[in-house]
Structures are given as structure tokens and as C-alpha cells.
């Protein structure tokens, strides 16, 4: 019976190939759009999640106000407002697990005949832990390196590739501002940060060495940034309050006077980036779904036309013994075949489209079994939903009225 009905549906659809194909096209476009948009949306979410996982958790960034930055008054007569001593004081606060003061800037690096421009970061060993940054070969510098201002460096993957090519950098020497630095380790790969900057294009050296040999700031003991890691997400608001109170007190700011530093909650910024991509991918999906709906309405439209055109056929079938449910399932099956076949083709095109987008823009795409399943279920649902009304109209026809038609 089902085989006979499938053959019948095939014949009916074959009788009007162009119309069947165009009806199917509505579904193809709808499903294709949904699959592609979901792949792109989920890809964006994945990329952001990936980036956030490289950032380190529960982080605050304290940014010095300085005379150069404008707008903020600096404490202590010019230069960055945050001091290494501030960082040490913050480290004593309850709920703070790690504090890393850092100074940074772009510098020219030289190794043999190779030249490379990278961000040089001067900091303390706490930096690696706060950012959960592993060392892929060699070892990190220690607090004693910071105390004695040794000339050692850890370099990021991008910097390593550009200065050393395929050679192992560990044990080699690079020059920064004429000073030789011994490369003692290579950092693990992190990729881009939320602003799209390559985090691996960096050299990390002890803070004291950086201040003396590289940046040569007149304000020894001042830093541009202090990275603070709270012990847990729950403690972050309390830690933020304590830090601000402490810094205002240490900087002798009176009530009503503005902070001479910025506090940036990196974790909150990451959360909002994640939320933004989530909303964006939802929006993409919703817009694509509209075309799926339009495809469904197209099916309904054509099925209604088909029922009217084939009223006499329905009459003949009823005259030879077709029951209402036979007619109902015949038309429902046709709608279902159109929508499911359209869905399959749309699925292929959607995946192909997503791969194409990935190939030409290197946007991350994620095609999950879930989204494919959802698209399939929705297509079948649309076939049944929009096919049901025309099919029921066909089944409810009176045999004699149907036979008299035209």
C-alpha cells in the first residue's frame, strides 16, 4: 500500500515537474538558509568561547591613568599612576589569588640576521598563572629572576616562528634595545584575543629587567597595567570594591575626586561578547526561519492548486473505493515528499554554503548533528502542517460532487 502510494506521489509530482521543482526550491532555500546561518552563528559562538578560554578566569585589569592618556589626573607628579607597590598591596587583599603588574610596548627584536617587531611584556611569574598560560618548551622565569633583573625571555609562538623559523629558540639569544636576552622558554599557543589581536606575537621578560633595560622609564616602580585574579567568580564584586578603596587610599584621593586608574572587568567583557554572539546567532536563525515558513506556505499553495486540479481524479478514486483517509494520506505524502526532499537538498546546499564561507573568509563554522536534526524535523513538520489543510479538503470532498467537477 505504501509503495503504491509512493509510486502514485512520484507520478503526480512527475506530471508537473517544473511546479514540483519550484515548490521544492522554496524548501531548499529555507532549509539551506537555516543550516548555513546556524553553522555561522554557532561557529561565531564557538570562536568566542575559544578565545575566552585562553584569557584566564575571574580577571580584572587595572589600567594606569597617566598624563599622556589625558582626562585623568595622575598622582605623584606625572607618569603612570599605578606602582609595583600598589600591586603588592592588592595581593594582600582578601579574595585576591594572583596579582601581576605589567609594563609593555612594541619593540624591535633581533636574532642573527632576523628582525621582528613584537609586544614586549615585562611582568612577574604570577602573570603566567593568572592567564593560565603554559610553557610549551623550556621553563618560565622565577621571582628571583625578577629580583635580580636577569635578561631572560619567554617568547610566543608567532614570535618564535618569525625569528627562529623551524629552529628551537630555547637556549638562543635575542636582542632587545641592544641588550641580549637568553630565551629560556616558548609559550603555548593562544590565538586571537577578543579584540582580534594575536596573543602569540609577544615576548615576556621580568618586570625589573624591562624597566631598566627596555623601556627605560624615568618612573621606576610605575607600571601601565596590573592584572588581578580573584579567587572565585562570586568574590569578584567584593574584590573590585576592596581594590578601589585600597588604591584611592594609597593614592590619597579625596572624596569627590576621580579615580586616577581604570578598572576593567575582563570576565564581564568576555561574557558580554559571548552574549552578543549568542543573540546574533539567534537572530540569524530567526531570519532564516522566515524563509522556511515562506517555503511551507508555498507548499500549501501548490497543494491547494493540486487538489482543485485533481478533483475529478479524487472523485474517480472515491468511486472505486478510496476512503477519506486514503485520499488524505495520498496528498499528505506528496507534501511530505516535497518538503523532505527539499530539506535534503537544502541541507547539502546549506553545508556547502557554510564550507564556502569558511573557505573564503576563514570564519569559524560549526555544523552540529543537532542543527541538522532540527532542520529535518522542522521540514517534516512543515510538510505535515502545511500539507494537512489541502489534504483534508481533498478527503472531505463528496464523491459525486468530485466526479461532476468540470
Amino acid at each position: 500500500m505504501l509503495k503504491a502510494m509512493l509510486g502514485e506521489a512520484w507520478r503526480a509530482m512527475g506530471a508537473n515537474r517544473l511546479r514540483t521543482a519550484l515548490t521544492m526550491l522554496g524548501m531548499v532555500i529555507g532549509v539551506g538558509a537555516v543550516v548555513m546561518m546556524m553553522a555561522i552563528g554557532q561557529g561565531a559562538q564557538y570562536a568566542v568561547a575559544q578565545t575566552i578560554s585562553t584569557m584566564g578566569s575571574n580577571l580584572y585589569m587595572l589600567i594606569s591613568g597617566s598624563t599622556n592618556a589625558g582626562g585623568l589626573r595622575s598622582g605623584g607628579g606625572g607618569g603612570p599612576s599605578l606602582k609595583v607597590a600598589d600591586a603588592e598591596a592588592i595581593a594582600e587583599l582578601a579574595g585576591v589569588s594572583r596579582v601581576a603588574p605589567l609594563h609593555y610596548g612594541r619593540q624591535q627584536l633581533v636574532h642573527g640576521a632576523n628582525n621582528w617587531n613584537a609586544t614586549v611584556v615585562g611582568t612577574t611569574p604570577a602573570y603566567f598563572d593568572a592567564r593560565s598560560w603554559s610553557v610549551s618548551s623550556g621553563y618560565p622565569f622565577s621571582d628571583s629572576d625578577v629580583r635580580s633583573a636577569t635578561r631572560v625571555a619567554l617568547i610566543g609562538q608567532t614570535t618564535a616562528d618569525n625569528l627562529f623559523g623551524s629552529d628551537d629558540p630555547v637556549g638562543k639569544t635575542i636582542r632587545i634595545q641592544q641588550s641580549p636576552f637568553l630565551v629560556i622558554g616558548v609559550l603555548g599557543k593562544k590565538g586571537q584575543n577578543l579584540d582580534g589581536r594575536d596573543q602569540d606575537d609577544t615576548v615576556v621578560i621580568p618586570l625589573s629587567t624591562a624597566q631598566r633595560k627596555v623601556f627605560g622609564t624615568p618612573f621606576q616602580g610605575s607600571v601601565r597595567l596590573v592584572m588581578v585574579q580573584a579567587a572565585s567568580a562570586e568574590e569578584m564584586p567584593a574584590v573590585e570594591r576592596r581594590m578601589i578603596d585600597l588604591l584611592r587610599q594609597r593614592h590619597r584621593l579625596r572624596d569627590g575626586q576621580d579615580n586616577d586608574f581604570y578598572v576593567r572587568n575582563l570576565t564581564a567583557a568576555a561574557d558580554s561578547a559571548a552574549e552578543t554572539t549568542r543573540v546574533m546567532s539567534l537572530l540569524l536563525g530567526a531570519i532564516a526561519s522566515v524563509s522556511l515558513l515562506v517555503g511551507g506556505i508555498g507548499i500549501m499553495n501548490i497543494m491547494l492548486v493540486s487538489v482543485t486540479e485533481r478533483t475529478r481524479e479524487i472523485g474517480i478514486r472515491m468511486a472505486v473505493g478510496a476512503r477519506q483517509r486514503d485520499i488524505l494520506s495520498q496528498f499528505l505524502l506528496e507534501a511530505l515528499i516535497i518538503s523532505v526532499a527539499g530539506c535534503l537538498i537544502g541541507l547539502l546546499l546549506g553545508v556547502a554554503g557554510a564550507l564556502l564561507v569558511n573557505a573564503i573568509t576563514d570564519m569559524v563554522i560549526v555544523i552540529s548533528g543537532g542543527s541538522v536534526l532540527v532542520a529535518f524535523g522542522v521540514a517534516a513538520g512543515i510538510g505535515i502542517f502545511f500539507g494537512f489543510y489541502p489534504a483534508r479538503r481533498a478527503a472531505a470532498l463528496d464523491p459525486i460532487d468530485a466526479l461532476r467537477h468540470q
Partner: protein, 236 residues
């Protein structure tokens, strides 16, 4: 014999028209036994088709009762009526009513699809019925490729395929020339000879002469019901 194959009691049908209900059939009483060959005659608009549609369970009466093999058809639901059309009645139309997209074999097998017969059996029985009407060679042709007379024979094969108790034919020769009409009538006569009950509507006396009994309608009522004289019957 216990009960007749067909019994109508005061059967009436009125159509809803713009000018109010129009009575097309009024109180028709008729018994037809198994094995009979009945011609229904009467001028245009006398209610013949209306009556046939009721007998064929294609339409429902406005009044009166219709018993088919002792069952009151008026008490049956949609599915049971469909089942009667499928198993007990073979209907032959003036306009053949074949499905143009299907091969002749598939057309003939159509009632078997709704009877739940499997594919192989359907093919066999369709082939058998096509052979019975002399069209075995055309099984895979489409209806548009054969003549009107041949199409009507295919329609008869379709009516026969589910071994019904009754063949109803509303002006089966109405669209055919006289030579082809005679062929179709010979086919009906042969089927009746094999014991099939046949009720057919015709305008033409020489067609009606092939039937053994002639019922005449006028303005929705039966006005005469006679056996065909033996000498006339022989001419057919």
C-alpha cells in the same frame, strides 16, 4: 430466493438549487435480483443518473431506503460506503473516467490498491481482466493512446477487477459510435451470461433490447417495468 440483490423503498432525492429544493427522484420502489440484466430508460432529466448514483453509493438519498444485499445502505458510514463501492459495486461511466497518467494495467488495478491487495496479485488480476475484455496487449499503454471503445472496455475491466456483485453503467455507450456500442453491449451480455448482475442506463431502444428487463423513468418516477420480448432479445 431470500432477499433481492437490490431493493429500493420509496427512494427520493431532491437537489438544492437556487430556486429551492428540486425533486429529481420521487418514491422509487424497485427490486433487482442477482443475475438480472436491467436497462433503465427515459427521457433526459427523468432522474436516471440520479437513481444510478444512489444505487452506486456515490450519493445519498433524501428520503426512502436502499437495501443492498439486505443491508440498509442509509445506515452506513463513509468508510463502509467506500468499502461497498470497492468490493460490491463496479461503476461504469459515460465518460470512461480513467486516470490519464496511469497505464491501463494500473487503472484496472486501482480498486485493488484500496482493497489492500499486494502488488503481484494486483498485476496478475489486472492482466486477467484486461484479457477478459480483449486488451491484454495494451497493459502498459496510457489511456490517451487507445480509442474510446477500448477505453470503455478498460473501464469495464476496472469495474470487474474486485469481483463485485453488481455492475452499474450510466450510458456506457453514450460517447461511442453504433458499431463500438454493439461491441460493448455484447461484452455486457457475455458478462451477464456468466452470472453478473448488470444495470445500465441508455437512451437507445436497440441497446436496451440487449437487456432482459426494461425500466422506464419519467419525471423522477418509474412508469413502466417490462421483460424484453424473447424475439427482440435474440436480435442482440
Amino acid at each position: 430466493m431470500s432477499s433481492p440483490l437490490i431493493r429500493t423503498l420509496g427512494l427520493g432525492k431532491s437537489y438544492d438549487t437556487a430556486a429551492g429544493p428540486f425533486p429529481a427522484l420521487m418514491g422509487v420502489d424497485l427490486d433487482i435480483d442477482a443475475g438480472e440484466f436491467v436497462a433503465i430508460m427515459g427521457q433526459s432529466g427523468s432522474g436516471k443518473s440520479t437513481f444510478m448514483n444512489l444505487l452506486g453509493c456515490l450519493d445519498t438519498p433524501s428520503s426512502g431506503d436502499y437495501f443492498l444485499v439486505g443491508r440498509n445502505v442509509g445506515h452506513l458510514g463513509q468508510d463502509e460506503l467506500a468499502s461497498l463501492r470497492n468490493r460490491s459495486i463496479g461503476f461504469v461511466f459515460q465518460g470512461f473516467n480513467l486516470l490519464q497518467r496511469m497505464t491501463l494495467a494500473d487503472n484496472v488495478a486501482l480498486p485493488l490498491v484500496y482493497a489492500g491487495v499486494d502488488r503481484e496479485q494486483r498485476r496478475q488480476r489486472a492482466q486477467q481482466e484486461l484479457a477478459r475484455v480483449g486488451l491484454a496487449a495494451y497493459a502498459e499503454s496510457l489511456p490517451s493512446r487507445i480509442s474510446g471503445g477500448q477505453q470503455q472496455r478498460v473501464a469495464i475491466a476496472r469495474a470487474l477487477v474486485n469481483a463485485p456483485q453488481l455492475i452499474l453503467a450510466d450510458e456506457p455507450t453514450g460517447n461511442l459510435d453504433s458499431h463500438t456500442s454493439e461491441e460493448i453491449m455484447r461484452l455486457f451480455a457475455a458478462l451477464n451470461g456468466q452470472g453478473m448482475t448488470i444495470v445500465l442506463v441508455t437512451h437507445e431502444a436497440d441497446i436496451a433490447a440487449c437487456a432482459r428487463r426494461q425500466v422506464r423513468f419519467l419525471d423522477g418516477r418509474i412508469v413502466s417495468d417490462v421483460a424484453t420480448p424473447a424475439e427482440v432479445l435474440d436480435e442482440c
